[in-house]
């Protein structure tokens, strides 16, 4: 059985990788996209910091950021950058979604906020990329 602490550790690892990805993809976007990427990166940093606090409260280890992450596909142009942004947000959404059932009360509310924010940003990136529909029926769910 996976514990709440393990779910939050997975979410933290996803937040680390999202921060890394935004640092790489921003330069390939137009001005408006870069602004959006900075906002996204800031949001993930805030989420990361909140997770560090929460894991300390739980007396659980906090995974550290890796020096680098293997990207799922070559990051060559604007289209790839938009695709990567949506991809990492989907991954973050999935990791928060997986923690919903293990959290209760106010903590579940925080988990839901992390999940919802990532799902909304994934949608925003797909919309910017011209993907239609930009939404999915069950955000962060693997097979649908």
């Amino acid at each position: 059985m996976t514990t709440l602490a393990e779910r939050l550790q997975t979410a933290l690892a996803a937040e680390h990788s999202a921060i890394y990805a935004y640092g790489r993809l921003g330069v390939l976007l137009d001005k408006a996209g870069q602004k959006e990427a900075r906002t996204g990166e800031e949001a993930h940093r805030a989420r990361r910091d909140a997770l560090l606090l929460r894991l300390a409260e739980l007396k659980a280890e906090a995974p550290v950021a890796e020096p680098g992450y293997a990207l799922p596909f070559p990051l060559a142009d604007r289209a790839a950058a938009l695709k990567l942004a949506a991809y990492v947000e989907d991954g973050v959404a999935a990791s928060w979604r997986a923690a919903l059932a293990d959290a209760e009360g106010e903590l579940r509310r925080q988990v839901l906020t992390g999940y919802t924010d990532a799902a909304v940003r994934a949608t925003r990136w797909r919309r910017r990329a011209g993907v239609a529909p930009a939404t999915v029926p069950y955000p962060g769910r693997k097979a649908q």
């Binding site: 059985m1 999940y115 029926p137 069950y138």
Partner: protein, 177 residues
């Protein structure tokens, strides 16, 4: 190697044996919530303070969320009927709400009867495209809040589905902007 959920990690994996200690309190709390949820339902179902032994069981706690979902479907139906240029944008959103309604009905107990939702024959939509979208956006934002509250207060077993519905509604607000 474990996947991080977003981008594959290249360096050390910290998740191996002896890494993180499972949190017992978290386990116990989750178990307690499940136990409470399991006990509460039969106790309520057997309540006969206000009726005989044949009194119908109280409606499922997700009844309000389901009603809100049906109301969203009706709003989209009306909007789709009013402006055919919105078909590509609105159809996937309407269908998502339909899927959510079916998923909720599948886990609710007692099963909601179709007649329990006297659907307001969705008020005819008037106004231009912009106004229609603004109305739907407001409805989705409010529905997202309703689902978020339901997610926080629901049982462990239902938290994921209700959370998915809350998140999906928030993404709808985004594309209606």
């Amino acid at each position: 190697m474990r996947k991080t959920g977003a981008v594959r990690t290249r360096a050390n994996d910290h998740s191996g044996p002896g890494g993180f200690r499972p949190n017992r309190r978290g386990l116990l709390r989750a178990g307690a919530a499940a136990a409470v949820a399991g006990v509460a339902a039969p106790a309520l179902a057997g309540c006969d303070l206000f009726g005989g032994p044949d009194a119908p069981p109280p409606p499922d706690a997700l009844t309000g969320l389901l009603a809100g979902t049906h109301a969203l479907v009706a709003s989209y139906d009306a909007a789709l009927a009013a402006d055919t240029t919105l078909t590509a944008l609105l159809t996937p959103l309407r269908d998502t709400h339909k899927a959510h309604a079916a998923a909720l009905e599948a886990i609710m107990s007692p099963k909601p009867s179709p007649s329990s939702f006297s659907l307001p024959s969705a008020a005819p939509v008037d106004g231009d495209r912009k106004k229609i979208l603004a109305t739907l956006r407001t409805a989705e934002a409010s529905a997202a809040k309703q689902a978020a509250e339901a997610c926080v207060s629901t049982t462990t077993v239902r938290a994921v589905l209700v959370g998915e519905i809350a998140a999906a509604r928030a993404t709808h607000v985004e594309v209606l902007a």
